[in-house]
Amino acid sequence: MRLQCSPARPATAVRAALIEAGAPYELVRTDDPGPAAGARSQRLPALVDGDARVDGDAAIILWLGDRYPDSPLTPAPATPQRADCFRWVAYLANTVQTIGARRGTVVGVEPDIAATIRVGAASDLAGALEFIERELAHRDHLVAGRFTGADLLLYQLVAIELADLVPSVAAHPNLSAHRTRIEARPSVVGARAEWATSS
């Protein structure tokens, strides 16, 4: 397997997912992932796994869950937990992660509209974090009773990607505890150490 990551964006969730799965992989730091099959260009991170090509944090985590069914990344098929894992991954990808993407759209636009978009993004993130905080009130992980790849994605978004937008962590004790819990997993420790030593 070959994982391509941007030097500026460590894709910690995906690399921790690979470690959780016990999947050997080669890490390639690049800003140019090259074309995918056909005309479409790949996004980063991008994973090449034999004949399979997949890019984007959420999609890679879901693929690895299928590829390594004994890993904890996604619950077994035909279980309510699996559907809940799908819900969380989709929500994090289309609501929380896109807040970061919205900030990216301000490149090349006038300062006043850029400021408006940033304020709106920060406000929406605050709302999303309140929702997640409530959901974590009575459980340790996003999916009740177990760790999944969705926890890795949440960790990456809150602790790394959107850290500058996240209001005081103290205001979100459940989210803060989740972050500490995930950060202590050997896979996350390993992924962070790998990034630090490979740069």
Partner: protein, 205 residues
């Protein structure tokens, strides 16, 4: 029996197409846009958003998640490549791309007031979002050149998801329809019985 809570011509359309493709026994419970909705819906959807699907002990929200669940729930319908097929990776990729990179900015185009704390900026917020959506539609157009479907050689639930989103672009300067490969793909899918039924029921133009 499966219950799908939804609003016609909304994010519940793709799950409904999947249910029709699978020949599933289900009931569609229409929800009005005025909250909170019936108690059984409130209990199923923590955000109060559609779609929400109740399937025995399984409750699932988020359109992409509902589509993934149904694709696995009805394997005979071949709504997704099997788990050991490399195309499964592409299926995940397209679903996540469509929900995060197309559906999300489309909401900013359709409801810009929700994303602009300054009322005077609403039009310009919409303009920036429309620029993003246009880039994504162009990317999809390029991908559909020479292809019948988004993933592999067969219809999948990723096609259902994109089919749901394309009409949402109809008020843009360059809607998805104006691109020839997207238009041909869209009209081809209109011929499917499942989609024709949902179009008739939901009044999709």
């Amino acid at each position: 029996m499966i219950t799908l809570f939804g609003i016609p011509a909304s994010a519940s359309t793709a799950p409904r197409i999947c249910l029709e493709e699978a020949g599933a026994r289900y009931r569609f419970v229409p929800i009005t846009r005025a909250p909170p909705g019936p108690p059984e819906f409130v209990a199923s959807s923590p955000h109060g958003k559609v779609p929400a699907l109740v399937d025995g002990d399984t409750v699932v929200t988020e359109s992409a998640a509902v589509v993934m669940h149904l694709s696995e729930r009805f394997p005979a319908a071949a709504l997704a490549p099997p788990p050991d097929d490399p195309l499964r990776a592409a299926w995940y990729r397209w679903l996540m791309f469509l929900t995060a990179d197309l559906q999300a900015p489309l909401y900013q185009v359709i409801y810009p007031q929700r994303f602009s704390p300054d009322r005077l900026m609403v039009g310009r917020v919409r303009h920036v979002a429309e620029r993003t959506v246009t880039e994504r539609l162009d990317e999809i157009e390029q991908w559909l050149d020479g292809r019948e479907y988004l993933v592999g050689e067969h219809f999948t639930s990723a096609d259902a998801f994109l089919w749901m989103l394309v009409p949402w672009t109809r008020h843009m300067v360059r809607p998805g329809f104006v691109r020839p490969h997207t238009q041909a793909w869209f009209e081809r899918l209109m011929q499917r019985d499942s989609i024709a039924r949902v179009v008739a029921w939901e009044g999709i133009v």
